[in-house]
Symmetry: C2
C-alpha cells in the first residue's frame, strides 16, 4: 500500500489552512456510504478497512513533503509548518470487512478534529471504494458458480499495481480460491494459482514438446493450455502423452481452455479424457469470464471445474465504480447535511440495525441514529479510539469466513443476476426528524 | 510506481523454470497491442512508456523475494537461486508517448532472452494498458471541450493510488490543465488545482461565513462551491461579499457548481454576476462530467469556463478496459503466432508506417514487417538497447505537446463522439504471406 500523506486532493489542504486560520478545530463526524447501488448490484460487500486503519496509523508529513508543499505555492508557510506534528488522533467505527451492505448505509465513520477527518477523505474513499467494488463483483461470481474454483487472473488489466493487489485481496475475501498475482501471495498470504501462456507453447517447435517440458518441470502442478492452435487437437495431444507421463510419476492436473465455445469444447474434452481413462484431469477455463458467463455455463452444465477470471473482475467491468461519498454529518456537536439537488444526505452519527428472519436470513435494515434503541444487530462497531486500534482487525481468513456466512444469509432474490425488488432499508423516524430540523436551522442562517 | 519484481503472474515464473530446465534461452520478440478498440473509441493515445522503461531498468529480485519464493512451493530451489542475477538486458522499441494508435498496431516491442521478455509481461501490460486507457479517454474530453480548462478530480474513485497517479499523468499529457491529486504534482510536476468541499461549507454556521473564511485564507486562489444548499442563493451570497472582499484585495476567482442543471444554472449565475459587475468571476463545474456531457454543454452554450472531471475519467467509465495483449511474435529467429479462435495474431517483428495527406492530416497506416521498405513514417523507434536507454525519454511537457499535435492531425471524423468509419490500417502483403507460412509450419509440426 502507498500510504503517502500527499495522496490527497489539493482542496483538503487548502481547506485545512482555512480551518486553521479561522480556528475551526472542533470534532467532526464524517461517514462513508454508497448513495445508490449500481443497477447490476443487489448488495455490496464491505472491504478495505484493514488498509484504512493502517493508512490512518501511518499518516504523517515527512520533512521533504513539507518542503515541497511550502514551495508549491498554494499554502502558507505557517500552515505548512504546523503540519509537521500532524497525526490521526480520532475514532473509527466500521462494519466488519465482508459484511453485506446497501445504499445510504455508512460502512465507516470517522470522528476526529475536523482537520484530521477532512484530510483523509480522498484516500479513505479511494481505498474503501476499490475494495468494496471488487469484493462485491467477486461475490456475484461466487454466487453464480458456488461449487467451482474461481481464481483472480486480472493483474494485467487491473488499473495499476495497487488495483491488482486490492483485487486479489477483495476477491479472495469474497470467496475466490486464490490469485495469479504473486505479490498478493507475498503480501496477503493468498493462495497462488497459475497455468501456462500461449507464448510458452509457441516458443516450442511443437505443442507436444511444450506440454512435455512443462509437465517435467512441474510434475505436481501441471496445467496445460490447449487452445493455442486447436483445442480438440490439443486435448488429443494431452491424451497421447498422459500415460507415459503418469508412468514417470507426472500427473497432469488439468487443462485450460481460453477461447471458443467453452460449453461445447469442455464437453468434448471431458468425453475424450473420460474415454481414455483420464477422468482425473480437470478442466479449467478462462477468457472474458464474468458472473453472467458463469451462470450461462452452469445452465449449460459445462463440465468445467474452475475458472480464471480476469478483466471483468479486476475492473468490475459492468459497473466500474460505486457512487460512494464521505460526508460531514456533524460538526461541533451539531448535525449537518447537504441539500444539493439529488445529493442530499442523512445528517448525524448513524448506526445500521439489521434484523433477521426466524430462519436466520437477513430481513430488513434500519438506518438510525447511534443512540437509537432499535431492534436488530448494530453493524458499525468501534475499531479505533484516539488514533489507536481498540480491536484486533480480523485476518483475511476470518474476513473470508465472515463473507461466506454473509452470502448464506442473503435473501435468495439478492443472490441472482436478474432485476429484483431492492432489500428493505428504512430510515428511522428520529433520523427523519433530525434531517427536517437541520434544514430548518440551515434555512434560518441562510 | 511500485516496481516490485513479484508484481507478475505466477505462470510467468513457472514458465521461466521450465524454460531454464529445458534450455530455452534464445531471443524472443513480444509486442504489446490492442486487438480491438472499444466501440466508443475511434483512436487511442499511447502512454506509459516512461514507467515501463523505469520498471525494466529496476527489475531484480531481492534476497527476501527469493527466500519467500523458495518457500512458497511452486518453484524449485535451483531455479529460484538462479534468479539472483536476473536483470533485463534486452531491447525496447516503442511509439512515443502521446502518439495516436489503432487496433493491431504494436506500440511497444521487447526483444530479449525469452525469460526476460516473458517475466515482464504482466506488469508491462498493466502499465501500458492503464495509462493508454486514461489518456485516450482524456483526449476525447479535450476534443469535446477544446477551449475549456479541464482538471482531473478523480483520485477518490480511481482504482487505488497508482491508478489515481496514472490518471493524473495520462490526462495531463492528453491535454488536461492539471489535477487535484497532490502527490501527482509532487511526482510528475503536474499543475495542481482545487476548490472547496461541501463539508467546508457545512462546518460553518452559514454559507457566507464559509465563503469569507476561505477567501481570506486563499486570496489568490479562491474558488467557492455554491451548491451546498441552493446554487442561486449561493451565487447571491457571493455577490453580497465580492465587493467588500475586493476592497480588501481578495479577488474571488471562480465559483463551482456541482449538481443540478449545469447549463441553466451556469447561465443564471453568469447573468447575476455580470449584472453585478463581477464578470471576472469564472464558473467551474463538476459532477458526473464526461466527454458526452461536455459535448452537450457545449451544444447548449453553457457559460462554463472549466470542468473538474472525476470518476468517468479515472475509471474510463464507458470503456473501463482495453482488449490489449503482449504476444510472442518470434522466437529463436522464427516468426510465431497463435491461432486460437477469434484471437489469432500477426507474427514477426512489426513496424507501423503512417502516411499523411498533403494537408498533414493522418491518412492511413500500414502494419508491416520491420524490414519493409514502406512509404510513411515508421512509428516504433529504439528506446532501450541491451537493457539501457538509448534515447532521452521525453518529459511530460514534451509528451503533452506531441499529443496535442497528434490530436490536430487526426482526421476530423475521429475527433467526434458519433460512430464512424474506422481509420484505415492495412496489413502489408509480406506480413500476410508470413502469417500463412507460419500456419503451414505449425500444421506440419502438429
Amino acid at each position: 500500500m502507498n500510504n503517502k500523506v500527499l495522496l490527497t486532493d489539493l482542496y483538503e489542504l487548502t481547506m485545512l489552512q482555512a480551518y486553521a486560520e479561522h480556528k475551526l478545530s472542533a470534532t467532526a463526524v464524517f461517514e462513508f456510504f454508497v448513495r445508490k447501488l449500481p443497477q447490476q448490484r443487489h448488495f455490496l460487500l464491505a472491504a478495505g478497512l484493514e488498509q484504512v486503519v493502517t493508512y490512518l496509523e501511518e499518516l504523517s508529513f515527512t520533512a521533504a513533503d513539507l518542503e515541497w508543499l511550502a514551495g508549491e505555492g498554494h499554502l502558507g508557510q505557517d500552515f505548512v509548518d504546523s503540519l509537521a506534528d500532524f497525526r490521526f488522533t480520532g475514532d473509527v467505527d466500521a462494519m466488519r470487512e465482508g459484511t453485506a451492505f446497501f445504499a445510504d448505509e455508512p460502512i465507516l465513520r470517522i470522528t476526529a478534529p475536523i482537520a484530521e477527518a477532512q484530510l483523509v477523505e480522498s484516500r479513505v474513499v479511494n481505498i474503501l471504494h476499490l475494495q468494496s467494488l471488487i469484493a462485491s463483483k467477486a461475490a456475484r461470481c461466487v454466487l453464480a458458480a458456488p461449487d467451482r474454483m474461481l481464481v483472480d487472473f486480472g493483474m494485467r488489466r487491473a488499473h495499476g499495481a495497487e488495483a491488482a493487489l486490492a483485487a486479489a485481496r477483495a476477491s479472495y475475501l469474497a470467496g475466490f480460491s486464490g490469485t495469479a498475482t504473486v505479490r498478493a501471495g507475498q503480501l496477503y498470504g493468498i493462495p497462488l494459482y497459475g497455468t501456462m501462456a500461449h507464448s510458452f507453447v509457441q516458443a516450442h517447435d511443437s505443442e507436444v514438446a511444450a506440454f512435455r517440458a512443462f509437465a517435467e518441470s512441474h510434475p505436481q502442478n501441471c496445467v496445460l493450455l490447449i487452445d493455442t492452435y486447436d483445442t480438440l487437437q490439443g486435448a488429443g495431444k494431452v491424451v497421447s502423452i498422459a500415460q507415459e507421463l503418469a508412468r514417470r510419476g507426472i500427473q497432469i492436473k488439468a487443462v485450460r481452455l481460453d477461447s471458443g465455445d467453452l460449453a461445447a469444447l469442455s464437453r468434448d474434452v471431458r468425453q475424450l479424457f473420460d474415454e481414455n481413462g483420464l477422468s482425473d484431469i480437470g478442466i479449467f477455463a478462462s477468457g472474458s469470464i464474468d458472473e453472467y458467463r458463469l451462470a450461462e455455463l452452469a445452465r449449460q452444465q459445462a463440465p468445467i471445474d474452475g475458472y480464471g477470471i480476469g478483466t471483468h473482475l479486476d475492473v468490475s467491468a459492468d459497473a466500474p465504480y460505486l457512487d460512494c461519498v464521505y460526508k460531514l454529518q456533524e460538526y461541533d456537536g451539531i448535525a449537518r447535511r447537504k441539500r444539493s439537488t439529488g445529493k442530499a444526505t442523512w445528517p448525524g452519527r448513524k448506526q445500521v440495525f439489521r434484523e433477521y428472519a426466524p430462519d436466520g436470513i437477513m430481513e430488513r435494515d434500519e438506518l438510525a441514529l447511534v443512540d437509537c434503541v432499535c431492534p436488530g444487530e448494530p453493524l458499525l462497531q468501534p475499531v479505533m479510539r484516539n488514533g489507536r486500534r481498540v480491536v484486533e482487525i480480523p485476518g483475511i481468513e476470518q474476513v473470508r469466513a465472515h463473507a461466506a456466512a454473509e452470502l448464506k444469509l442473503l435473501p435468495a432474490s439478492l443472490k441472482g443476476l436478474e432485476e429484483v425488488q431492492p432489500y428493505s432499508v428504512s430510515v428511522h423516524d428520529a433520523l427523519q426528524h433530525l434531517a427536517a430540523e437541520v434544514d430548518r436551522r440551515t434555512a434560518q442562517h441562510a
